[in-house]
Every structure is written in C-alpha cells, then in structure tokens.
C-alpha cells in the first residue's frame, strides 16, 4: 500500500517535472481560462444582471472548460516515443499508474484554477475575501471528482481519432453532478452566508469524489491492459 502510493507519487512527480520543463500545456490552459473569463466579461450586460448573480456560473464554466483543456495533456505526452509502453512494462501496479496520473492532473487543474480565481475576483470586482476558504474548499472537492473521471477518459481517448474532441464529449456529463453542487455551494458563499450553511453540498461533493475515484481506480486496469 505504502509502496504503491510511493510509486504513484513518483509518476506524478515525473509528469510535473516534464511539464515544468516546457510549460506549454500549463500555460495554454491558464491563458485559455483567462480568455474564457474575458469572453464572459463582454458577453453580459452589467446593468441588467448583477455580477454577483452571474459569478458562480462564470467561475464554474471557466473551471470546467479549462480543466478539459488541461486534462487532454496527461496521455498525449505519453504517446510520443511510445513512452506509455515503457511505463506499462515497468514493474508498477496499474493502480499506481492511475493514481500518479490522477495526482499530476489534479495538480495541473488546481494550478490553472489558482491562476483563474484571483483574476476572476479582480475582473468582476467581487468582494468575497471572507468567503474565500469555503470557495477554495469547494473548488478542491469538485475538481477532485471530475479529474478522476477525466484521467480514465484521457487514457482512452488518446487511442482514438479526434482525441481532443472526444474528451469533452465523454467528460462533460461527468462534470454535471459536481458542477450542480459546486454552484449550489458557491452561490450562498458569494452572498455572504457562512460555511456552515453549505455543509450538505460539500458532503455531496465528497461522496461523489469517493465513488468516482474508487470506480476509476478499478476500471483503469481494463483501459491499459490489452
């Protein structure tokens, strides 16, 4: 168990190192997130709809689109020079490969979110400092769930034609439950309610995370084993 986790961290570390050397996908995903925020800024009428009403939607649409872009990366880098075959040949349990990929993906998406969140607050002039811990917790819980499904799907879609288009097609339905509850949780927080008023939403996100991570770990073996 400890060994499997150590291997998972090693694989995640490798992915993060590879990414930090080029920074291409991380940068492009971050820039993409900022562009989505900008598009939203021009796609609304601030005199008709108060920013605070629209804010949860803007945040979560940006996060979900940017995550898909960020997750496409995980297995496309492995395709070059048949690197993934090397990983599969290594004496590493499949579960560790999955967890490693999952942790690396989670790190990428969270970095993109960490770039997008301050800009989101800045662009839309939100006064939500007191709600920030709750929002960060919601972001963490919601992201942990759909990244788990996204990691399995990105391992599948690299083997198909139109991989970049296929991932959002498969993944977006899996983003619906976390998004519904993330929006339900962030909206009261933006309105200044205390964290204790959204505990049910957070609990739902946690249950979703546990279920989807478990089933992903179990099914990932079937994706990579021929």
């Amino acid at each position: 168990m400890v060994n499997a986790l150590k291997l998972a961290f090693a694989i995640a570390g490798k992915d993060i190192r590879v990414e930090l050397r080029t920074r291409t996908s991380l940068l492009s995903a971050a820039v993409f997130a900022v562009l989505v925020l900008l598009v939203f800024n021009f796609g609304r009428d601030p005199t008709a709809v108060a920013t605070i009403d629209l804010a949860p939607t803007i945040l979560w649409v940006t996060v979900s689109f940017a995550s898909v872009v960020a997750m496409n990366r995980a297995f496309t880098v492995e395709r070059e020079n048949a690197a993934f075959d090397g990983l599969l040949l290594a004496p590493v349990p499949r579960e560790s490969i999955y967890l490693g990929k999952y942790l690396a993906n989670l790190a990428f998406v969270l970095v993109v979110e960490a770039i997008a969140l301050p800009l989101f607050i800045l662009f839309f002039n939100l006064d939500i400092v007191q709600a920030l811990p709750g929002i960060i917790l919601t972001l963490l819980l919601a992201t942990a769930g759909f990244v788990a499904a996204g990691t399995v799907f990105s391992a599948m879609v690299v083997k198909t034609r139109f991989a970049e288009l296929m991932l959002p097609l498969l993944l977006l339905p899996f983003m619906v439950p976390p998004l519904i509850f993330a929006v339900k949780t962030t909206a009261p927080l933006f309105a200044g309610r205390p964290l204790s008023s959204v505990v049910d939403g957070l609990r739902f996100l946690l249950v979703f995370d546990i279920c989807i991570i478990t089933v992903s770990v179990l099914l990932f073996t079937a994706v990579v084993d021929e």
């Binding site: 097609l169 498969l170 339905p173 619906v176 439950p177 979703f208 994706v223």
Partner: protein, 233 residues
Amino acid sequence: MTADTDAARGIITRGVVLTLLGLLGIAVEMVLAIKFTPVEALQGPAQKIFYVHVPAAVMVLWVAVPLAAIAGLLYLWLHDPRLDRFAAASAEVGTMFCLVVIITGPIWARPIWGAWWTWDGRLTLTLFLFFLLLGYHTLRSAIRDPNERARFSAVLGGMGLVLVPFIHLSVYLWRGLHPKPIVLKPSAPSLPPEMLRTLLIGFAVTFIFYLGLVTLRYGIQLRDDLKEAADAA
C-alpha cells in the same frame, strides 16, 4: 464458417420477426389507448402520450441501459465478444428509446406545463443519459481494434453506472416538477384499471419491440464481424 454465417442469418430473421411483432403490438396498444381507454379528466387527450412515453422511459432507464452497462462489465471479466455485441446493441436501441422519451415528453409538457422544457430532475437525467449514450457510440465508432473498443466502451458503461444515480440525486435535490411514479411505487398503482391495463400492455409490447431490435442489431453485428474475420483471413 458457413455454419456461423447461417447462425447470424437465423438471428437476424428472428430479430425481424420479433421487431414486426413488437410494432404490431404497439399499433394495437395505440388503438387501445386512443379508442378504448378513458380520457383523463384533468389533462384531456394530451395524457394519451403517456402510453408511449412511460414504456419507452422504463425501457431505456431500467432495461436497455442497465443491461448494456452490466454486459460491458461482464465483458471485462469474461472477455466474451457476445457480451460486447449485446452491450452495443442494447445501448443503441436504448438511445432510440431515449430519443422517443425526449421527443414525446415536451409534446406533452407544452399543453400541460405550458413549457416545452423545464430543468426538472428527470428531464435533465434523461437528457444527460442521452448525451452519455451518444458519447458511448462516438467512442465506439472512433476505435478500430475490436478488443480495445469492447474494453473502452465497457469502462465508459461502468463509469456511467456510477454517474447516473448521482445525476438523479443531484437533480432530485435541485427541483422537481415531473409527475411522480404511479405504477412502480410502494403503495398500489394509483391509476384506473382501464388505464393500467393499457399501460401494462404498453410495457409488454415495447419490451418485445426492444427484444426484436436488439436481436436484429446483434445479428447484423455478428454477420459483419464474421465477414470482417473472413476478409482478414
């Protein structure tokens, strides 16, 4: 080889017969629903669509999709290509029933609710199930290797099996407008006997129709697989 081809042809014939039987049954059910079942007091003739909508919905949510997902998971365990063929056929027929549900629902909702669409729990669930099924077929069509195709679609089916209860739960807690179940509920069905009779006949004939289409689809896939194997050899 020819024995296999004959078997495939036999399955296709059986499928055609069952499908025609199902269609005939549905026609009889339509006549029964329109002519020999009382008009609902509050909703008027709009309620008649219930006899198409509910059997189709039950077929996709409780038969076609769960069976496809379970067959996929069994495939991951047993690696029997028959299971994959069945899963694909059931998912495809399920997609058709899902489309029937999504089309008939708004036709009923417009006069009764005054809106074609609301983001009610069950509507949202059905819509996302439909997209999930479309994703399933798109994924299948994008993979050439049959083993890989079977494995990947089984994985997607298994993930979907976990997802659907969550969509259901999340939209249920969100808001609800759709009529509650009236037949499959803990107490006795709250439906006049004539309406219940028509509905039960609807379930039966729709199930025969489903069986027919799945058999047909399975047979066609088997024939194509055999042909491909023969061409490759």
